[in-house]
Symmetry: C2
Subunit: 152 residues, 2 copies
Amino acid sequence: MTGDTQNIGGVIITPLKVIDVKDGNVLHGMKRSDPGYVGFGEAYFSLVQSGAVKAWKRHKVMTLNLIVCLGEVRFVMYDNRQDSASENMFQEVILSNENYCRLTIPPMVWFGFQGIRPEKNMLMNIVDIEHSPEEIDRLTLSEINYNWEIVE
Amino acid sequence: MTGDTQNIGGVIITPLKVIDVKDGNVLHGMKRSDPGYVGFGEAYFSLVQSGAVKAWKRHKVMTLNLIVCLGEVRFVMYDNRQDSASENMFQEVILSNENYCRLTIPPMVWFGFQGIRPEKNMLMNIVDIEHSPEEIDRLTLSEINYNWEIVE
């Protein structure tokens, strides 16, 4: 589910290093020389409760770089760009400390995410522009049909 | 302990917003327009076990921006810059979700940090240049005398 299928155009899944350190590990996030880095606007954390879904959103300008630092989060992307080779494609990626990758989502791709673990689920998002409501499109959960059921 | 005393020269403590969201809160980290932002080189996570101390380090070039996203972390800084108004000053700052601030540490200030909570203690560090061993000075824990005992 995480990189073994074709990506939606512009989506990048980058495995990240975890460095073993005696008193507490260091986990890479993003370097300015990394694939997917297109500038720094803002970095913030988002929590998502177990089973809860935050969807759907699309950024007209912003590129997202998502890293799950705690728990497990399911990301679902939907491409309805008319000029896209991956038009109408859905892509699902589940990230956690065990599948520790950075997910880059380009502008104009719909996305949502869901908390998986009963404990805290937390992601960091590094974005290339500061938050601006004008460049965000939103749809309610039911406006894009996707089965969010968690299969154990 | 967190901003109610004088800061070491160049140190900035910036309270951060937590935005209440129904299915999981959003926690601000850093914006490019924020105080303390001097460029993006890298963002990474560092874990620190309860009671463990990671110390001492000094960056010759790098500015650190530290945010505790989980647990509670004690930061101790020591200024031995000869031209500094805060020469020989120690400063201690304890950050957590309850005291949710960003700690900016300028180059040439010694620092270390310690995990406080029995559960996971995790920080994010946003730095202005990519990691480079050449610009890091290190001392062992005992080379700068500080009482790291945790008083309940």
